[in-house]
Amino acid sequence: MSETVTPQPSSTDLPPAGAESLFERVRSAWQAWIQRIFGEREDQLFLFLAVLIGIFGGLAVVCFRVAIDWVQFVLLGSSLYPGWPRVVIVPAVAGLGIAALVIWVFPRSRGSGVNQTKAAVYVSNGYIPFDTVIGKFVVCALAIGSGQSLGPEDPSLQMGAGIASKIGRYLKLSQSKIRLIAPVGAAAGLAAAFNAPLASTLFVIEEVIGTWSAGVLGAIVLSAVSSAITMRYFMGAESLFRVPYVQPAHPVEFLGYAVLGVVGGGVSLLFTKWIAYARPRIQALPRWTHFLLPAIAGLIVGVIGIWFPQVLGAGYSIIDQALHGEFAWRLLLVLAVMKLVATGVSFLSGTPGGMFAPTLFIGAMLGGGIGAIEHHFFPSITTSVGMFALVGMGTLFGGFLRVPITSVFMVIELSGSYTAALPVMVSSLIAYLISRHYQEVALFDMLTRQEGLILPSIEERREQEAFLVEDAMRAEGAFVVRPNEPLADLAKKAEAQKELPMLLRVRMGEWRLLDGEDLQRLANDGTTPHTASEVKSKGPLPLLFPDESIEEAMRWLGDWPVIPVVSRADLGQLEGALTFPDVLKAVRKAKAE
């Protein structure tokens, strides 16, 4: 037998022992980390991705903000109040460019970012084409920078969602995760645009997802926070507006805030109705007119801008001035009206851009105007006009965008104090209720429906009453049998109530379904005395509580013909019984009602 000799490597072929071991150690550590993060639990990866998306979203929004300002410096100059030739010419000429870009190059950049993110969640399995991100960046920077009365938040939101979608697809996440990744990115974009991670998180939950799922919430918070930190790293920690010191409101002043709520609700309603009426009609115009619409809108905004240059662009600086009470009440109210017109025209023309900043602008002017009027007539009981302007922002946000919770937290986050919380709660709620009462469908839902897309309305879902077990169960749906009950008596009872199931209460929390046939057999067998415990039974049965959802009950109803509904305080006390026909009957009844 020949012995095979393995050639031994010479000492010169071998790498140094220490280096090899270090390299191997690093490699194996890396592989172990990768294995742990990506190989086993996708949830961990998702949270990690949330941070990554947040940073990417933050960087994108920083670039977007810089781009808007650069365009503005170049086209309109650095003054708050540019000369009239620029004000008239620039938005109109830029409008032609915007139309060309939107129609020929980035057709997907049209529309609301919020809705497109919702559509990604509910329709396209989390898919947002990346050219939407580029399109939004380029077109919105040109539109807002050239003076169109639109804001950068909605495009930022969509850019964040688009980046997230792209990363999610590259990483080949599971379908459920990839569907949720767009809202995570949306939160990142909005948080960076507003510099308000809390309000952005709430907005995405309130308007896009509509649920407080722990897994998604964690990812959204992480992405919003990391995005806001990234943005602050480059642009500074200052909030969008310098909110002056606000004094707590005197109780009588809440009447003033209530008035603001009513007016804000009315204005929100008016604005929504106008868009609802005009948008389909403008969209139905011949295609060639769409090349001109942004230019015409730009011209109208420019003409308004000759007298009221404050309406140009997003208008953060002007909001800042209103917060400092720098305008008289007449000018404040006129600016509110002019901004409403300018924003409506810009939006209806199909120019991409957001409604958040204009809403805040109109709200600030309206609030400031009402505050100034009250200050004029009741100088002793009103606090600063700035406080009213701040509350007005939240009011319009709540009334127009129909996100009352976000509006309250946004004001708190922007002002950095809880002083304005109560007034904005009062005012925003009133505005919301008025808007809700007279305009059934919220703005974002209305826009999607006009585009022929039926996305779930988060507002409607929020207001839906849960369908509970107690709505379907029958209180007398079964009769309870004790284990030691004599069969003779039981057989008589069963004979009397043939249609009712018999539930055997074995012990606390354990219920079984008695076999009726076996009961009759044993009852007819008169040789030995029998008790209920000797009868054949199925179980133990799952238990339901009256306040549980029908969805929970449906999980069991496929396997069991009847399920006992028991009291939470005493698992041995039967509250009723639930069967599949009971559920069907209750659902039909609810629909009929």
């Binding site: 990554l52 002056p244 800042d320 009470g325």
Partner: protein, 410 residues
Amino acid sequence: MVDFDQDKVAPEKQPASERPLPEKAKRMPGMYIRERVLIACAVLLIALFGFTAFIARQYHHRIHQYADQWFARGEAAMNEGQTSAAINDYRNALVYKPEDPTFQFHLAQALARAGQEVQARTYLTNLLSEDPSSGPINLTLARIAVSEKNNLDAVRYYHSAIYGVWETDPLQQRWEVRSELCEYLLNHGNVQEAEPDLIALAQEVPMRDVGREKTAGNLLLRAGLWSRALSEFRAVLDTDRRDPDALAGAGRASFQLGDYVEAVNYLNRLPRDKRDNPDQAQMLQIAQQAQTMNALRPGLRISEQARRAENALSVAKMRIAACDKQRRETLTGAAGAAPDELQKLYAVMQQNNKAWTFPGLSTHPDQIPSAMSFAFQAESAATKLCGPPRSEADKALSLIASKHPGQAGE
């Protein structure tokens, strides 16, 4: 004891998907892709971070440039008195540096100057919440409160400014603010409230600072703090003996203190044009009269005292007669009617007619105080019944009376 191991399923019975993978296949199929994507993301992130850092730097550089340019324009406009243009420029500057306290403060000052106090106050209150001890902010707020006639806030902010922080020349700034506060209080007749600040103001005048000594002296004069005012003016005169403002102030203070010799001395040293000023001239005349009528001045010879007392008595008699004429009543009074004060004094005068002459008073100098007391009472009664004195002599006599309250009340 529960044997948990019994739940384990034998490997061969496990479904294929649950069987342990061979070591190499342990990783998920997409893991390598994910690893690569992660690395690509990291590289992209670094690149994007660098790019963003670059453009953000350029952006901030430009923003600061704009901010400084607009601020400089605002300063220039403000210096030229174009407040409205300055406000616009400051607002533009604030767009680019919204948190800059200097910009905010200058805008607030411009707004206050343009009469937009409410707007200015919003900025200043905000700034004050950041820097509550700032002297300039408190001072501007005080001036706004003054323009809004809010006395409480004005005094509060003035005091905060006095005890606040001033970056340049704090002693001088605080002195100026205190001076402004005193001026404000005196203008509103709050003399008592102004007194502590006036005293502090006088004490804080730097040595040999003639201008401030005169300012303090004049404010002290307005508050009626004569001796302190006199000290201030004397300090000025130590530096410049001919300073007309100091001479006028010292003359007035001495006059009010009843030191007519000194008053005449100071007033006489005034340049002619100043002395011809009606107020100064009248004061000089009264002082001179008072000087010649005050028999109670210590250190006088008896004959001089008697002469002055006689002079004062004759002025008093004339005042009684003039007042009587004005009232169209007889000094002897109607029969059966109770005599009024003037008639009683006339009766006293008649009784002492012989004793209250130059020889009588020279012989009985103990009568001089009584004579002077009578003259003071006569002036006082005539003032009550017929109004304030008109002649310089009567004024002088009233002035001497006010300096000798014990004699006047007898």
